[in-house]
Point group: D3
Chain length 234, copies 6
């Protein structure tokens, strides 16, 4: 059986760390590090909501970007509009966070969570979600401390991880060299109670059958349990 | 148990039809109708490939748009750049089609499959994929007939369907009123041999557990079998 | 004397058909077919008017687009702004429709008529105007039926046709192969009482003298009479 | 019968002047003044032609813009793309100039004629064409003087004027207050031999019948004769 | 010591002229000519201020553009957004003008001064500032004459000039051939009392030391004194 | 005399630190921290140069951006084009770096130095230049180590600092609360030998006279000497 980089076990996360307060001007912030991947997540609270949310409750949305040299070769800044991949990820972050929040209890506030990738070595979208939830809860704590909200409207923590099939083997938390060689790439987003918010699986190479799908979901479940633990400690 | 619109069974597709040749100037084309949803798919073949495919083989890509009044209220044309939803769907169409094609056998040709939604009543992205595959194979037949390719590079048919949980009940092929009330929305793309190309499940309302996921995948599988049959007859 | 495609007489329209109701969600719609040219026209009614029309009356405007593969080779979507030709045609459609409507009687409603060319074989801008008027009147009938307007604010039907000089011969309703070989290309828009709303003549090749202009206007007049008859039957 | 501003006769041009050489760095240039309207026209010659003209001959194209305060109230600069009116005028200028030039004799050069409106008091598009032809011929003379071309490829002068119906009366060369009150607005572009290059008539208010069209074309013909004389003297 | 073009002394301005009223529809306007450089400056007054100025006082801003053939070879119009150089100059014009105006006394008016370069032979940004101040004061006089303001809110005249080091020699008011050969390029903006509003010095070639900086500022001071005299006479 | 935040002396820099290697995939990188301001600088080397540099030597350019929540309130991402301030800063960074490099010795390489502001508390443009020079030299060392260049083409270190007049007092290295209250704001860029590359002084409030300018340049000189020391130690 092929060996993973750094001798990692097929079901092991990379070393993961979440530092909070790394953007001192934001209501909530953290930097999440998974192996070499590193994402700065900041939660910004504004009063008021978009027109279609008026009278209904608050709103939570996400933005995502990579610094030009987060990657191995330089990527151009998206100054002529966000590309398809960026928009897809932003929509995913927003949906994932909203699944974890009681928007009515948030009141007429809009929270924008910016996920800026400082170093990209695979799994940036799932790390963004995991970090974004910490930044978001941290902003909620600020609102509670300032007496603006009676309690945090976070109903459950939400966490995400990537899994995939590389060289015929299901693996947890792919890093870049694995990701680019994977036949199948899954992103799984779950809540604390184990239920799914998103399951996105793509056959980049060979299609996958039902038993492979089952193996991947099991692997993701275990990874997410571990991540939820790290989030709560942060 | 709640009743679906038009008394449809929970595991029944809407009446589905695929007419070919509806864009007379295109190398391949069809109009797919599923209930009221109707999408015009055209496959355009150009010589040459994008720079990063040179010397590797052909390329297949997809574009997607809705006519402004395909929907219940008028939607603005995307004349300042394609939005996030559009780009996400376009990427999905392209990936799905490429999974069905032997790109090397295609030679240095680029095929663009345009999916223009004439009427939108739910399931436009999955209907686009199903129709796009027919338009694509039809263009391949043109290339064979003109002696440009020795045989069609389509390796298997690809088909897609939406499934979801509405009022607690798993349902096949959601129409718009169901889609907008669904707690969970899945898009499944499969090949003839039953293997998955894409599985995208989103909790719009309540998150979903493992048994619900299983039920939805089974429902999708049955629908796709039926669609593959309609594609081949077209 | 040279022979036209399909043995058509110099003063004959192509086979023309207008089907109404082809966009089921729109207040008014039709598909107009002239030979191979086919345009889907939908009229969308919104409450309110642009700022500069407030207190003055309603507003009617047009949009125009071609599907990418309406033409013989694929055309890129106008996702970075509508091009000059598109904008010119849109302005022409809007002006033509407004000449046929009592805007004061329309009240503070804005009607947008979208003309989407499904197949382009010459004469798409004039077919768009002719079809747009049918979609517009159909939307007005909807407003009357719903008790929103006491009577249709259409004062006269408006219709349009192209004429041109090909191989030295004036011809009615040019199709694409004729249009691209024409020395002179005229678009004429008229009301039922025979008066002109627009006359646009361009020398693509040799300039034209006064007697040629007279012959072309006569030819256009006869064609428009026939089109008005088809519109009213629709 | 109503009186025109400054007691002008219905068939009189405004005082018209063409000064050449007003853009010292351009191969050809002039400033055309018609009443208060003033347009700076510059012709820039570049070697080479657009791809679709290679091996066929030269190319002549036009651009048009108004300075922000050419008009009575300030207009925003078109920094997010040229608007519909601008593009329509640019296309008209280009077509008009090309009708006056033997493009084959021009060889593989591209001439861009920029028409920048310094003061706008009606008739800016027609003044632009008249001035542009002078700037163009002036650039051709430069090419002849420099031995790049054996003779000017201008085959005939081209000139343009606006006519319209105001208060029921046909009038030549409308200024702004007349233009905004006109029922019918015609732009006519002609060559020296009297043949038309473009005839564009629009009913802004009441539609026009055949006899009105005839009267307007006669009026335009007389105006253009006078303008051709001024062009040649410049 | 090298000789300047036209035998100009190192501390001499080019022949400079300011004609006012050259944009008849604007509240204030002038054309400033310095050697071959020529800029049309128009001041447009609008009621109201941007949101962040409400309740604080008026606002003055500048825009800058070059006609495509102001320069030796044609420059493309900035129709996809103003470039970096343009925006930098616009910001400089705005800041310089605001330093000369009592914004509170201006009341809730916004004045936009457009500087359109008709001919560019070096020093266009400084000529724009000098001309813009004349157009602005001319607009203020219009407001006073119309009884809208009791007195002009211009507190001091503001003027600008470029200086530079060419062939080791400090020179006043560089023209294009000097500017493109300069090692150091300074733009200095001053008020009547000799105080600076802006000092921008850039080493294009060799860096500059303190004594060179001193020499350049002295040269600029003398030039600005002369320009202030010309402004007041205009 | 007023007291500065944290009791800082008028001629003291904020605590300043430069950590190198903070972007592991870049040829050169550092994070510069001055007080709370923190900028990540990465230098990316690409083979080849822009067309106008071919055959002349290498090229060095800079880009600048702020993360949305670097500031006290969230700033929108510049996804519709870089704004005026951003472009102005980018041009300044590029010019400053090029003054420190022997471009001929660099050979046909393009180095892009990205300065991404993680936390913004005043002085971000000058910190960017100081950090960018460290990232650049670090990239040059990489090229030397890989045998691509025989020696670093950095001729002298370049460093930058802001100075200003606050409450009538000249101060070194303004932080945000000082910057926004400053009457005069200077950015000074110098080489090791004390010569200036850029001097940009702006009167935000009261204009400044010659003696104030002298005091500010002296203050900047002392600050830059200290920064050059920190750069070399990094």
């Amino acid at each position: 059986m092929p060996v993973r980089p750094h001798g990692r076990a097929f079901d092991a996360l990379r070393p993961t760390m979440i530092d909070t307060g790394t953007a001192p001007f934001a209501e909530g912030s953290c930097t999440i590090t998974m192996g070499m991947t590193r994402v700065l997540c900041t939660a910004s609270v504004e009063e008021g909501v978009p027109p279609w949310r008026e009278g209904v409750g608050g709103w939570v949305t996400g933005e995502y970007a990579m610094l030009p040299r987060a990657t191995n070769t330089r990527t151009r800044r998206e100054r002529r509009g966000a590309g398809g991949r960026t928009q897809e990820i932003q929509r995913l972050i927003g949906r994932s966070l909203r699944a974890a929040v009681d928007l009515e209890a948030l009141g007429e506030h809009t929270v924008t969570v910016d996920c800026d990738v400082l170093v990209a070595d695979g799994g940036t979208r799932t790390a963004s979600i995991t970090g974004a939830c910490v930044a978001l809860e941290s902003a909620f704590q600020t609102l509670v401390r300032e007496g603006i909200l009676p309690a945090s409207p976070l109903t459950q923590w939400v966490s995400a991880v990537s899994v995939g099939i590389v060289d015929g083997e299901p693996r947890l938390d792919l890093e870049y060299v694995e990701d680019s060689a994977a036949d199948v790439d899954f992103n799984v987003v779950s809540l604390e109670d184990g239920r799914f918010v998103e399951v996105q699986g793509t056959a980049e190479g060979a299609p996958f059958d039902r038993s492979e799908l089952d193996a991947l979901l099991a692997l993701a479940g275990a990874g997410i349990t571990e991540l939820l633990h790290i989030q709560k400690s942060a």
